[in-house]
Symmetry: C2
Amino acid sequence: MARVFECSSTGPIVETKAGKIRGFRIDSTYTFWGIKYANAKRWEMPTEVEPWEGVEDALSYGYVSPMLHKESNRGEIMCPHRYWVKDENCQYLNVWTQSLDETAKKPVMVWLHGGGWAAGSSIEQVAYDGENLSKFGDVVVVSINHRLNILGYLDLSAFSDKYWNSGNVGNADIVASLQWIHDNIAKFGGDPDNVTIFGQSGGGGKVHDMIQTPAADGLFHKGIIMSGMFYRDRLIGADSPELNKAVGEKLMAGCGVKTVEELAEVPYDRLAEVYNAVAAEYAEQGIRLSQMPHKNEWFCGDALKYGFREHAADIPVIIGSVMAEMSFGTPIVRKHELTEEQQLAILKEEFGEKTDTLVALYKAAYPDKNLTDLLLLDTAFREAGQAFALERAKLTKTPIWEYIFTYEFPIEDGKAPWHCSDIAFFFHNTDKVVVGNKPGVSDKLEEQMSGAFVNFARCGDPNTDTLPEWIPDEDGKLHTMLFDEECKVVTNHDLELYKEFMPVAPDPRKRNRKNISLH
Amino acid sequence: MARVFECSSTGPIVETKAGKIRGFRIDSTYTFWGIKYANAKRWEMPTEVEPWEGVEDALSYGYVSPMLHKESNRGEIMCPHRYWVKDENCQYLNVWTQSLDETAKKPVMVWLHGGGWAAGSSIEQVAYDGENLSKFGDVVVVSINHRLNILGYLDLSAFSDKYWNSGNVGNADIVASLQWIHDNIAKFGGDPDNVTIFGQSGGGGKVHDMIQTPAADGLFHKGIIMSGMFYRDRLIGADSPELNKAVGEKLMAGCGVKTVEELAEVPYDRLAEVYNAVAAEYAEQGIRLSQMPHKNEWFCGDALKYGFREHAADIPVIIGSVMAEMSFGTPIVRKHELTEEQQLAILKEEFGEKTDTLVALYKAAYPDKNLTDLLLLDTAFREAGQAFALERAKLTKTPIWEYIFTYEFPIEDGKAPWHCSDIAFFFHNTDKVVVGNKPGVSDKLEEQMSGAFVNFARCGDPNTDTLPEWIPDEDGKLHTMLFDEECKVVTNHDLELYKEFMPVAPDPRKRNRKNISLH
């Protein structure tokens, strides 16, 4: 039977601080797409939206930040996308909620999208749709767009006070969205005093950033970092005032303008073309230009490099990652038909004499997994995630829970989980993203995973009746929830493994070029 | 319970003429996204793809033709979109089927997307997804991308024999896709001798084009034109060899090249920029440049202007349109709360002394409809649709069935159906496009509408047990199926109405600027 649809002259209408907006209702879920939460001139800090008369429609998604490169046209069945129209005017958010009662005080979950700090959007992946999570968890789900790449993270502070924080205005948009949520979310049934931010990949990085940003204090209360901690220095060749100034000068020269104020008027496509050429020039010298937030008086910088702010101790955190993050295109051909000897033979081609040590540690960590999956073990997020969790647990008793998603997907005769493959499970969206489906198995896991996030958002504890007891990490002790067909909690299961594995880990960029099979 | 997902090293794999491809299965439906059906150099005729070794994945949609303008970011809840990555290399198609048995001989339904001949894609609208229709009707659904706008329909024949058909290569891509279907669809369980092409808006226009294109003869057997017939001269200011030559010269000058071969190497974005400037120049002189097929030895031209080809008599056709096509943004505020006097007062503001005549004819045509909907009555497609159907019925006994979609949507306190609003019903996709949902009502109508198309595809007759008897049009007699909460067939119900209405019809471009209400 068709789901009920409602959108009429009488509602659903919500009165925000700036004016009335109208969304729509599907069955029990009220939805508002494309609410403008701030305005901004290029490279300047965002400002509040001007009040309006009458009712504005929130029935279409808001513009997405322009990007430097084409979006991906590959791997769609593994990660379905929803691309959208781009424009610099991109400070928009979406809301899904089960109530418009101002006194309802439902937990609020704010999604920060991935794509590094350079790409993506609040709706880029089909898995980001908030309807199911709102309905399943009776929570208010918000997702936001903000400025990206050179619009959000180009440090031009050397040239003009006007652009003092241009290296962070993308993150300043996020803070502005949290301020909007603080001011308005009660009207959508949400509790402004119980806001959890969660994000994956770059979005997880942004959760970290908000913890390290004083301007965001009080605007959120808990954080979930999914596959979002990594050693930033490994990705950024350099981020110094001198370099940033030199890049700015090259951009002005390339665009044929004399001042950064004039540069702010150059059409984005032209600016992007020049920037890509400048970046390519630096890349030839082995310098990768940063499109991430820059440490300054507004942003306290990477916690792993500069240390946690004191305020971090007030924020309960869940941090986790996926077993085989960067292994999109690397099926291991019929791995379950290989004997242990054959599996070892494949590993020996990669690891040589170190194979036995690695295999012993891997078997201890993952006794039920195929040995060949060791080739695909995450090298991007887990190591930094361990460090983040250990450091946090040492500093404060405020809990940090930690997980790894190890569920094997049915695709390719059984494939270890890849970057982004967990999102649909946490969002309760495996009806829309079907690649992980095993009837009766994936349904249960989805309930467990989204249930944990929802309970954490509700009361600060991810434990539920459907999971084994999930203990927070302690000083020197990682208690890791393995989300899998049978969820379980293990202690320090992969610390030794990673110490041995990281120095010899295969380069995922090479690995992705071909399938792995027995020769 | 989760739907079953399958995609392994063993299948689903199909051997096409050029090589093996692998798709995926969700429950009973085998799906292949992004199959390359042809290659083409800019402005040249498409060629067959080269054979390959091994298995190619068909797990991501294919590139979409680049476009001259940004896609729409409005009206999303009324028409949800799925935008995708653009590239000139865009000859891709998608297949959904219930069988991979070469002897199954299921009916084949090929979707030609809308967006004029200038925009859109095989997946541009969420409503175009083929899974539900394939499953519901046990048919093979195919949807295709092809070259658009200046890549597909720029007549440069004056400059070089190489580009003799550049004004039609977008349509030549469609013919190439039909050839691919003819050669390969049996392997997907389809019957190459029972192919129905269907399309809406520009896609309906392309169905007409294929009927008028000798190269497509034998590659399809039936056609469905949804909101796709219009008087082309009204949209094209001019399409003459002299004009087309002048445009080509201006493009070369603007791009700083001397030959059309060099023009073929100019990056699309630059070419588009120059073309848009040239088009704006002509627009100032009141000339709208054509981005539609051009009549020549390959394409026999608009049937309404140049007459039907003899072969048209071999093609059973369904033709129809929507009651209030171009009325996206024109809610009539609480129209069902207005008295008849109030409704008439609103009409009198528009129609003055002609109101009584129009209202009498409108009441006879649509006795159950709100009078104010007369303001929104389609001016784009119905009149030409009447002419097409009458002309065809006069020429041949091969049946032509004809319909109008008059179903009132629940949005905006009851809104007459707008352009594209019928697509989800015909595709059995109201679970994905929910704006028309009235539980128990829309479900039934969806079954009736998609059932009619499926039965037409199966056996050439749209009649089913769930519909009143649908009689083909006759010479001088239009028997029109009104798809609505209660479907019914009426005869010549709106011929007089349109004769009186068209000369005084409100300009939809003005109309869309504001809501309509009682002053």
